[in-house]
């Protein structure tokens, strides 16, 4: 058997990030909110990662940052998957006019890019972390409905679905006992790649300062505030930048590969 080193590396990276989020208080005993010294100290002067522009321990902020940076897109993805799957499943089993209506609605919504939709939502709801979750979650729904509908459509054509109907199964039973379980692997892969999108959407919104409170450590917001000190303290931008891009890449790679299996 060939060993997929890249896959292993990706899994390891993600596991590290998740672990970092969970055991942040064990990794560092420093409060990420409190200024502890002079601002913009270099990693040599204040190991391991120096201080940010307000004199807070940057390592503590990066570590605690993993919590929000991962949990916002996770919650948003759960919202998208739950609503998106329900809608597309309903469309498929009800069929007819309802299906056409939902399809037309998603097509119309797809004309607006998901991220723009999310930004419009934030503008309406006002800045804040719950808003970002809702905005990214709702912003992803049209695309998710479209793709999950085509998965269900493929399964619906299978002989065993006809057989189930012939045996007198209700629509609800067909949807929950046959369509959903059989689509689960593909849906999972779809959800994984969608998580990568949600992660990018989240960091984009927080980078734009829409998370409300900049003192809460979050990688997108840190990337933005670091940008102001790019010349003197490049690590304030580079480190969250690397964390964000590597995390998106690994999730995306794993999702794609899961689908190709």
């Amino acid at each position: 058997m060939r060993i997929h080193w890249l896959k292993i590396l990706c899994v390891l990276w993600l596991a590290t990030m998740v672990l970092m989020a969970i055991i942040a208080p064990i990794i560092t005993s420093v409060d990420p909110y409190k200024p502890i010294g002079s601002p913009l100290q270099s990693p040599q002067d204040h190991p391991p990662l120096g201080t940010d522009a307000l004199g807070r321990d940057f390592f503590a902020r990066v570590t605690y940052g993993a919590r929000l940076s991962l949990s916002i897109p996770l919650l948003a993805t759960l919202l998208t998957v739950f609503v998106g799957t329900s809608v597309s499943l309903t469309a498929i089993v009800v069929g007819g006019l309802a299906d056409r209506f939902i399809l037309a609605l998603t097509n119309a919504a797809l004309a607006i890019p998901g991220l723009l939709l999310a930004m419009l939502l934030v503008a309406g709801l006002g800045p804040g972390i719950p808003t970002v979750v809702i905005a990214v979650g709702l912003g992803g729904i049209p695309g998710f409905v479209r793709l999950s509908r085509s998965i269900f459509l493929g399964i619906k054509e299978m002989g065993y679905i006809d057989a189930a109907y012939a045996l007198g199964a209700s629509r609800t039973r067909v949807a929950l006992a046959h369509l959903l379980p059989n689509a689960a692997p593909q849906l999972f892969s779809l959800a994984t790649t969608h998580f990568a999108w949600a992660f990018m959407g989240t960091t984009t919104l927080t980078f734009l300062g829409l998370s409300g409170d900049p003192s809460v450590p979050e990688w997108g917001a840190m990337l933005n505030s670091g940008r102001m000190h790019l010349v003197q303290a490049p690590w304030l931008t580079i480190i969250p930048g690397i964390l964000i891009s590597l995390t998106i890449l690994t999730i995306h790679y794993l999702g794609e590969n899961y689908a190709d299996r």
């Binding site: 909110y33 409190k34 200024p35 307000l54 010349v231």
Partner: protein
């Protein structure tokens, strides 16, 4: 086929000409062009109608005003008005105008022109955002003869001369105002100043060229004629891009450089740093006195004591900003008598909160009173480092057991929305100005910016009396000193630092000085290095 060939030829011609044109540009650049960076792209730049401070940076030199405020003496000096008289009841201001002034389009300047300017500003259809309110209780203007005009007021209004000394009430050519109207005039501005307005491309640039006929400059200018022929103003809204624009020589002069970057540039031989103090209000946060817990004086005092202002200012603004203890800046308001320095005393703050009933139980993160947690909702605007300051306030307040919910409002609209909802305990906003009547809209019960919700008949009385004391400057000084004391005694505001605009200039550019308002350069005095 023939038309196709023609089109190709045409395209070729266009490309050639445009390449040649762009190749020629550096040569026109060489003949004394200055690139001045602006930091905010205003929504409109008609000084009579729009309100931004940024528009004054170029336009202060396109227009002259009836009077000018001398930043050194603090006195008003003649501008387009040679002299003026104020009636003993403070209701009639007679201006005797200069007779030798012409607008850039050749229109002669006279009393008729002044009247048309005032009418344009006060025309309700034009929706003036700032200039109209600066005229206060102005009732009408009366033309006595071609070069004499009277401003008639409904009641005395001490800030009138200060208003008339600002670019927002600069004198525009009545011919141009008539020709273009309120919607178009901002693109075709015509004044009497040392520079002529050439063009304005929104979000891109504003171009000025010197006015060779200028011969009526006020005494506050060092030069009688401008020497830089052409000044191009570009916009650098992103603070992170400003130092780079200077280093790439895209801009020769740029303001609002972030403090750490300003220090870095100043340490190089290619640049010099001039910190310009801006008169008006310091960066500050108002406490909402209409809602619990900040309706309690002890809580407000505790919030003041818990902040280590010195270290906040040092962290965010470096060594360039004075720490503020007053609702007015030191610059421009030197006559405010010395105030007690603000203390940093977390122990005292804890004691005050306990007196007010907010107790911190062991094992609890935050103070409580009758099972209610002590929450402070802190709202900060996004501009001018307010967000950084607010994060440090939050850290200081959490330190004494307060749960701080910080929100950065993305813009003025959201800020105003939160304010109208009343759902805040501390909110940041500050305005600039050279007349202390500025305080009235913030601290009078019915003030438009009374975001503290505080209402005190004695403060109202003093603010109104001071606004009307046109002919009694000493009485005004006395009243404003009492008002400032009352504001501090009631702990209505948390002042942080006096605003200092960090302007970085390329080495060799000389003569950069600013008007009394602080923001506006006297472009006439700028000199480029001789090649």
């Amino acid at each position: 086929m023939k038309t196709y060939k023609n089109k190709t030829l045409l395209l070729f011609l266009i490309l050639t000409v445009s390449t040649l044109a762009s190749a020629c540009q550096p040569s026109s650049d060489a003949e004394s062009t200055l690139h001045y960076g602006l930091t905010l792209a205003p929504s409109g730049i008609d000084p009579h109608l729009n309100a931004s401070a940024e528009l004054g940076i170029p336009l202060n030199s396109v227009y002259d005003t009836l009077v000018f405020l001398d930043p050194e003496s603090g006195e008003f000096v003649p501008g387009l008005a040679e002299r003026w008289e104020i009636s003993s009841d403070g209701l009639r201001y007679t201006f005797y105008l200069r007779k030798d002034v012409r607008f850039h389009d050749g229109t002669p300047f006279n009393a008729q022109a002044v009247q048309e300017n005032i009418d344009y500003i006060l025309n309700p259809d034009n929706h003036s955002q700032k200039a109209a309110t600066m005229l206060g209780p102005l009732n009408q203007t009366e033309i006595l003869d071609e070069h004499t005009i009277v401003f008639v007021l409904d009641e005395p209004f001490a800030p009138l001369l200060d208003s008339l000394s600002q670019v927002y009430l600069g004198m525009a050519s009545p011919t141009a105002l008539d020709q273009w109207g309120a919607s178009e005039y901002q693109f075709h501005q015509v004044g009497t100043g040392p520079y002529r307005f050439i063009e304005y491309i929104p979000n891109d640039h504003i171009t000025l060229e010197l006015n060779p006929d200028y011969a009526w400059g006020p005494s506050i200018y060092d030069n009688t004629k401008a020497s830089v022929e052409r000044i191009v103003f570009n916009f650098y809204e992103d603070a992170a891009s400003r130092a780079l624009a200077l280093e790439r020589r895209e801009a020769d002069i740029l303001g609002e450089i972030p403090p750490h970057e300003a220090d870095r540039l100043a340490s190089s031989a290619d640049f010099s740093l001039s910190p310009v103090a801006i008169p008006g209000q310091p960066l500050q946060f108002f406490f909402n006195t209409t809602t619990s817990p900040t309706d309690d004086l002890r809580v407000r005092q505790a919030l003041l004591l818990a902040v280590d202002k010195k270290s906040v200012v040092l962290t965010v603004f470096g060594s360039h900003s004075p720490v503020s203890n007053s609702p007015l800046s030191q610059a421009g308001y030197e006559w405010i008598s010395e105030l007690p320095p603000s203390a940093h005393n977390p122990e005292g703050a804890r004691k005050l909160l306990e007196e007010a009933g907010w107790i911190l139980e062991s094992q609890e993160p935050y103070r409580k009173r009758d099972n209610e947690t002590l929450v402070i909702k802190l709202i900060a605007p996004p501009w001018g480092s307010n967000s950084e300051v607010a994060q440090l306030l939050k850290a200081g307040w959490e330190n004494i057991g307060i749960d701080v919910e910080l929100t950065i409002a993305p813009g003025f609209g959201t800020l105003k929305e939160v304010q109208s909802s009343g759902d805040y305990h501390a909110i940041g906003i500050n305005f600039f100005g050279t007349d202390p009547d500025l305080l009235r809209s913030f601290y009078a019960s019915d003030g438009f910016y009374n975001w503290t919700g505080f209402s005190d008949p004695e403060i109202d009385r003093m603010l109104n009396e001071a606004a009307r004391a046109s002919l009694a400057p000493d009485r005004r000084v006395e009243l404003y000193n009492q008002i400032v004391r009352a504001i501090i005694d009631n702990a209505l505001v948390l002042p942080i630092r006096d605003y200092v605009n960090l302007v970085v200039v390329h080495q060799g550019i000389e003569g950069l000085k600013f008007s009394a308002q602080g923001w506006f350069p006297n472009l006439i005095d700028i000199q480029l290095p001789s090649p």
